[in-house]
Symmetry: C2
Subunit: 164 residues, 2 copies
Amino acid sequence: MSAKAIVDPKLDLVLERTVDVPRHLVWEAWTKPEHLKEWYCPKPFSVSKCEIDLRPGGMFHTTIQSPEGQEFPYTGCYLEILPEQRLVWTLALLPGFRPAPRHEFATFTVILTLESVGSDTKYVATVMHIDESSRVKHEDMGFFEGWGIALDQLVAHVKTIQQS
Amino acid sequence: MSAKAIVDPKLDLVLERTVDVPRHLVWEAWTKPEHLKEWYCPKPFSVSKCEIDLRPGGMFHTTIQSPEGQEFPYTGCYLEILPEQRLVWTLALLPGFRPAPRHEFATFTVILTLESVGSDTKYVATVMHIDESSRVKHEDMGFFEGWGIALDQLVAHVKTIQQS
């Protein structure tokens, strides 16, 4: 498997940016619940629950909480784990690879790749959708703003780890 | 990952049988197109095309041909490969882990496990469906008869390899 995802512009959304934190800490931020909770949702939304079973077929669960306290649970499945390089998970499958009912919002797969650029990290998140309308809906709901703010929060959080 | 699938009787269909051929040849029969074509479809249906890219995220494609020449293509994605022990693939994802449109017939995941019992092989195929109605439909369409006949054909084919 090459590290990069094969992108279809009709179906996929890609956030690519080089961030000034080291690759191993970006990996920590994505794979440890105590870190993920700190950055994964653009504030004032938050992560009220996170479970990570980091192996192919393992669970990736987050519950997103609105400022009013409403909860939105998402349960997906890890597919591929190359530490500090490539993380693949999907909402199309439940843990144990069981096919998931189509999600009301979007049934997508995420391929995250990380590459060192000096002491910085090239961060590429590719989000693959079932069809064009799902991609358009996700984009219109603010994919680029949302994932961009989350990445800003990730970087800010990782810098607090670096300093501690 | 434990070798066995976690079965939900409402959602899953399981074919379990001990067959009198060695495990490594059952694995060959499932993972080499030239062998798979010989047994995968209950006759008089046949496999007119088979592509296997045996790695997580790789393609598993079969085209089934009816006696009248009508073709039914199925493209899935391999998820987990433990040689001669465990093979997992799904129709819920396309190659590269892209979410698949829901299949007109059934969007299922297959977990095949093989275990040596002396010189025989304990063969367990677990087929996991999205919902109960998909499982019922697959069962009513003759899952047990179809997969059973295919396994008979596999055993017969493997015995010709053994003798050659």
